[in-house]
């Protein structure tokens, strides 16, 4: 009987620990802002925020920034709400305004981290965001957001 209670206690502790690790992992899910590995662009978090908000449309050398977006995904919505401070819709409208007046290139839409990573890796003027655990050697992280 004592052993049975001990087993139940151990299982409970184990479950609590697993749940705790899971919760911590969810809370600490990080997002990486990425550019191509060959890119020489340097961007601070504030500058990245300006880029995704549509307040800055060109790199320092004058080349137009190609935003690689996944705003239709849950991760994307969260990125705009929590990092950019605007909803994905508001940002999309701002970009539409810039594109219709010739001031910027239209953001390229992707459906998941892998597609974003691939698109960014292929374009030296691109910038995108993916979950940090989806990083690989084809792209370079320039900022990380909790």
């Amino acid at each position: 009987m004592k052993k049975r209670i001990q087993n139940i206690f151990m299982v409970t502790v184990l479950l609590v620990v697993i749940l705790a690790i899971g919760t911590t992992a969810t809370v600490q899910a990080q997002v990486s802002i990425i550019v191509a590995k060959s890119s020489t662009q340097k961007v601070s978090k504030e500058e990245a925020k300006d880029i995704f908000a549509g307040a800055t449309a060109a790199w320092g050398n004058g080349a137009k920034i190609q935003v690689i977006d996944q705003s239709d995904t849950e991760a994307g919505k969260k990125f705009y709400d929590e990092f950019v401070g605007k909803s994905a819709n508001q940002v999309r409208l701002q970009w539409t305004k810039l594109v219709l007046s010739g001031q910027a290139q239209a953001p390229k839409k992707c459906g998941d981290d892998e597609a974003v990573r691939k698109a960014v890796a292929e374009d030296p003027n691109a910038i995108g965001y993916i979950q940090s655990n989806a990083m690989d050697g084809s792209v370079k992280e320039i900022a990380r957001i909790q």
């Binding site: 500058e47 925020k49 300006d50 908000a53 549509g54 307040a55 800055t56 060109a58 790199w59 320092g60 050398n61 004058g62 080349a63 137009k64 950019v84 401070g85 605007k86 909803s87 819709n89 508001q90 999309r92 409208l93 701002q94 970009w95 539409t96 305004k97 594109v99 219709l100 007046s101 010739g102 001031q103 290139q105 239209a106 390229k108 003027n125």
Partner: protein, 415 residues
Amino acid sequence: MRIYQRHLVAVFCVSLLAMIGAETAMAQTPLHMYGYFSTRFEKTYETYGPNGVIDEASPSDFAYPYFNLMGQYSINDQFRAFLNINGAKASTLDLRNFWGEYSASRNLNLRIGKIYRKFGLYNEILDAVPTYYGIEAPELFDADHLMISRTTMAMVYGAADLGPGVFSYSGSTDNGEGDPLNAPSKNSFPFCYDFAYSFDGGNYTVGTSGYSTFGDATPNVAINGGSPKSGVLNWMAKDKFTVFGVYGEAKVNNLTLQGEYWTSAHKAVRDTAKVKTVVTSAGISSIQRERFLINPAAPGAVKGTNVRTNASYVIQTWYLRAGYSFETGIGEIAPYLQWDWYKNPETIANKTYGGDDEAGVADDGIFNKSTVGVIYRPTSEVAVKFDQSFHFYKFNGENVRYPEIRLDFSFTFGI
């Protein structure tokens, strides 16, 4: 009617091809085609004519769809080109913009071609109707009473990080308003500038723009050729003028506030023959007759010696807009309010002769306009706008008003 239908079909086909092409073009080439369709229903109720009669305005006007087709082509990081074709009423094509650009850096870019000048909050984005609050242009750029032409030919612009925000500038020049090359004295060198400062990710913007003809400008339409396409009225022989203004925008959470103030000082010389035509044929009011003639009560045909040729006057306008965006399960719903004020003491009512049937009808050339409207965007590509406005002005010593309603539907593609 059949011709309209053919044009309509052609417009839809071109746009369909553009939509199909947009996807492939984006993926395979540096060419990107995109744009939007729009159609509008408009109704103006009773208006006041120059003789004090209340006119029944046209019952309603459902505009044929018009569209803007845009294309961007990037040659490399430094060179790119842009094109904006406008199709009005599904029957005419108009090349609104066509320019090439060289970017030395983010701080220094050179654009050559037919370019919307950077001027205030709206000039560059007026063709992007689906993206902003309101259906109508601010009075500064209203086709009936432009304070300045919308395009220029050479523009330098750039941006740089400054403190917590971004500072941007532009300077532009061209041949000048009208036809100064063939004017008696070609001595104009127009210049336009814009300075703006944005911060907090573009949530706050303040700026100033200005323009001077730096010499004599001339009208760019004939006396009975309709609305002027610049700040020079049809009956002028020449005009030296400046435009100056300030603007600001604040986006606080879902609330957007915008405001602009503009003033334009003119030192003009009226053309005697054109003024005689206006006085004889344009149906002007007694107040306007007093303005144009030294002796307005003189009997018989108007004599050239009776025309007042010197005209110094100031046009002013301001507006305030406020919009609030609600994001709901069925899309974005954004109600907005707007108040416009405009004063032009030189204009007349008859639009055929370059007049303005708003300020030109008022005793003192002043009108106010209140607008209330709502935008519904089920998706970011589709916008439906409804607004109602009232014009207020003084007519024959009495305060009068008339209402207008508009319904606008826009559909963007390729973005």
